[in-house]
Symmetry: C2
Subunit: 213 residues, 2 copies
DNA sequence: GATGATTTGTACGTATGTATA
DNA sequence: ATATACATACGTACAAATCAT
C-alpha cells in the first residue's frame, strides 16, 4: 500500500495529527491553509481530506470546512462497545489460530511490559500496549478483522488519551493483559474473549470518567 | 449526510454499479472515460474514486488505474467470517435492545417474507432480505456497529450474487430467519446470536460452493 | 531496452455556495 | 435581512509516471 503521492503523505500526516490529538475533535481544517503548510496546491489536500472523511476521522459537508470528527457521547459509547467486541473476537481467534512463534512472541512482550510497569514508564507502556494489541489483531489471522479493528482503535484514539495517566492503571492494565495472554496460550477461546472484553470495558469506563459527558 | 456534490453522486452511482455487479471485480476504472460519461471534469471523478478506495470497493495504486476490488479467496473468507460475527452481534443486541414496535415490525416483515417464499419470487425475497437484515442492524441501536456491518455487507455483495438462485435456498433462508426472529422476540441474546451466526455461515458456504476457488 | 502514447498527479483559475458583518 | 467576504466545488492546463510498442 505504498503511495508516493502527496495526497497520501498529507493524509498520513493529518491522520497522525488527529490521532495524536494535535488536531483536536471539532477543529476546522482549512484547505488553503493546509495547502500552504504542505507547500502543495489544494488538489492533493482535498483528496487527502476525502480519504480522511471516508475513514471517519473528519466530517465533511458540501461547501463547508471539514471538521475533525467529534462523535456524540452515545455514538462514542457505541464505538467503544464495538471495539470491545472486535478486540475480544481477535483475542478469541488468537487462542485457536496463533502459531507457536506468535504465542511465544506475545508471551515475551507481556513479560517485557511487566518490567515497564515496574519502572512506571507510562509513555513506554503506551507504546508497548499498542504493540500488544497489534499482535493480537495479527494473531487472529484475519486480514479484514485486523483492518476494521485497527481502524476502530484509530478513530477512538483521540478520546482515549491519558488512559495510563492515573496511577495504578498501568498495573491494572498489565494484570488484565495477563488474563488474556494466559487464556490464549492455553488455547481457551471463550476465556480469551471474556478477558479481553473485560479489559476493553474497563478502558472505556476510564474514558467516561475522564471526560464525563 | 446529504451531499449535493457531483463527486458524491458519482460515488453513489459507481458504488451501486459495483455492488450490483455491473462493474465486476478486477475491472479497471478510467477517470477520463468516467468523466466523459458523467459529463463532468476528472476532478469530481477522482474524489469519488478516493472515497470508494477508502471504503474498500476499489483498489488504487499510484499512477495506475483504479480496479474494482477483487480480494483473494482467503481475504474473502475472512470477510465472510467477520460478517457472520457482526450480524450475530447485531442480532444478539436486538434481543435486548429492540423496542416493542421494532420487534413487531421485524415479526411482520418475517411474516411477509413467508408469502414471498411461497410465491417463489427470488427477486422480491432478495429485496425483503436486505430490509430484514437492515432492520436487525438498526435494532441493535449502535450507530457505529450499524455502519461497519452495512459496509461489510456492501463490500461482500459482489460475491454473494445468485445466493437465492438455487431452488430451496429461499425456504431455508426463511427458516433460518425464523430462528433469529423467535430468539429476538424471546429476548434470548445468546440464541439470537447463534441463530444468526448459523444463517450467515450457510450463506458463506453457498458462496464457496458457487465460485469454488 | 528505449521511446512515444496514454493516464494519472498536481497546479491554478473561476464559479458557486456558506457564513458573518 | 442584505450584502460582502471567503472557502469550497469544479474545470482546465500542465507535469510526471506508466505501459505498450
Amino acid at each position: 500500500m505504498l503511495k508516493r503521492t502527496s495526497a497520501e503523505e498529507i493524509r498520513r500526516e493529518l491522520a497522525s495529527r488527529i490521532i495524536s490529538g494535535v488536531l483536536p475533535p471539532g477543529i476546522a481544517l482549512d484547505e488553503t491553509q493546509l495547502a500552504a503548510e504542505f507547500a502543495v496546491s489544494r488538489t492533493p489536500v482535498r483528496e487527502a481530506l476525502r480519504l480522511l472523511a471516508a475513514s471517519g476521522l473528519i466530517d465533511q459537508k458540501p461547501h463547508a470546512k471539514a471538521l475533525v470528527a467529534k462523535p456524540d457521547a452515545d455514538v462514542l459509547a457505541g464505538m467503544f462497545e464495538v471495539m470491545g467486541y472486535l478486540e475480544a473476537l481477535c483475542a478469541g481467534l488468537c487462542a485457536t489460530m496463533m502459531r507457536a512463534n506468535e504465542r511465544e512472541a506475545l508471551d515475551a512482550l507481556h513479560a517485557e511490559m511487566a518490567a515497564i510497569v515496574h519502572a512506571g514508564d507510562a509513555a513506554r507502556y503506551a507504546e508497548a500496549n499498542d504493540a500488544f494489541h497489534a499482535a493480537i489483531y495479527e494473531g487472529a489471522h484475519n486480514t479484514y478483522l485486523n483492518d476494521i479493528t485497527r481502524s476502530t482503535r484509530q478513530r477512538l484514539q483521540p478520546f482515549r488519551r491519558a488512559q495510563f495517566g492515573a496511577l495504578g492503571r498501568l498495573a491494572k492494565s498489565h494484570a488484565e493483559h495477563g488474563a488474556v495472554v494466559e487464556a490464549i496460550l492455553r488455547g481457551d477461546r471463550e476465556a480469551a474473549e471474556h478477558a479481553m472484553r473485560q479489559h476493553i470495558s474497563i478502558v472505556e469506563n476510564a474514558y467516561q470518567q475522564l471526560v464525563g459527558r
